[in-house]
Amino acid sequence: MFNPVALIRKLGHATVDRIWRLGFAARFFIAILQHSGTSFRRLPLTLREIYFSGVLSLLIILVSGLFVGLVLGLQGFETLQRYGSTEALGVLVALSLTRELGPVVAALLFASRAGSSVTAEIGLMKATEQLKAMDMMAVNPIARVVAPRFWGGVVAMPLLAAMFSAMGVLGGWLIGVVFIGVDDGAFWSQMQAGVDWRYDVWNGVIKSFVFGIAVSLIAVFEGYDSVPTAEGVSRAITRTVVTSALTILALDFVLTSFMFRGAS
């Protein structure tokens, strides 16, 4: 039977739940920052996480970057040809990659490749009560487990995004110059004239840094907050990927509207 009071109660419950989780995530973030000392004093802990989330993501990032660049080269050439300005292919490829595609696609890949594995690891540690055992031995699990993983992701993300963009530009060059035959000099010189390192490249780096913080925080938080069962961990991993993707796209819109507003 339709019961309006129950419906409104459900809505209220969901809202309160969301806000409570948001507040928990914010306090968790502050706790990570407070206990970050260990990750820098005992650098091997963080290095190990940079290896797992950064080095092991290299292949997927480089290959995806190359293919995105190849496709941009083909599609861009096809469109620019209609206006007789194929020399602008370099600008098109470089601007789309450094401003948007590099940070965003690299962050999406990073969330699904590294973020999900971080969530799984922390979730399983919680399910097998390793985190509690650490607490019993007076080892703070946030300082020992969570913070190094967070900082590993924050360090790895901008570097991966830069590699993605660089590979994409090379891919565009490969298609445009080597296969189709756009003039090599015009390709690079128009690119250098059209891409400002401070306005385009550096803003892209800032974006990828912000995405790195967001994805890493979501990954460690979902793992730490997961229901300690097999099903709970698997749900936490799904939530990491979905929430990361939505957060990245929403943040990207906000950052773009601040950075490139009134673009010349």
Partner: protein, 156 residues
């Protein structure tokens, strides 16, 4: 995992990332050609700037000698005030001519400085007195059409 192998991989990863950043800044972006460390400001007033954009180039003899820093509308004289950041290495005479040109038929517009013969040089903050506005394609076409029509009437 062995500590030295781990260090090696992470070092390799970070080096690759920094190399990619340098590639983006130097080869893709304009950091290599952007070291105009000391610049000085010149102003020029135009009747019509056409499609001139902020951060567009300022060229003299085809060489980029500065960037357009700001474009404003002057409500008193109804002119566009363009602020130029010019490389400190270059000095221009007082009677330099500032014109707005277009690179290619449909390319970007830039401010061209045609050097005069004055002994005195422009100082920082000076306004370039002689300017020529952008060529508006519609005006040119209408002028051309009018002159054609006038020619046709003369022949009759």
């Amino acid at each position: 995992m062995n500590r030295t192998v781990l260090d090696l991989w992470v070092g390799f990863f970070v080096a690759l990332g920094i190399a990619a950043l340098l590639f983006l800044a130097l080869k893709v972006g304009n950091l290599s050609s952007a070291h105009m460390s000391e610049t000085y400001v010149l102003q020029a007033k135009f009747d019509n700037i056409g499609g001139l954009k902020v951060r567009g180039p300022v060229k003299s003899a085809g060489v980029v000698v500065g960037r357009i820093a700001d474009i404003k509308f002057d409500p008193a004289s109804y002119e566009a005030v363009v602020t130029l950041n010019v490389d400190g290495r270059y000095q221009f005479p007082k009677d330099t001519f500032a014109s707005i040109y277009t690179a290619g038929l449909l390319g970007e517009q830039y401010v061209g400085l045609d050097v005069g013969g004055d002994e005195k040089m422009l100082q920082a903050g000076d306004t370039i007195a002689k300017t020529q506005s952008a060529v508006v394609l519609e005006k040119m076409i209408s002028q051309f059409l009018f002159s054609k029509a006038a020619d046709g009437q003369d022949k009759k």
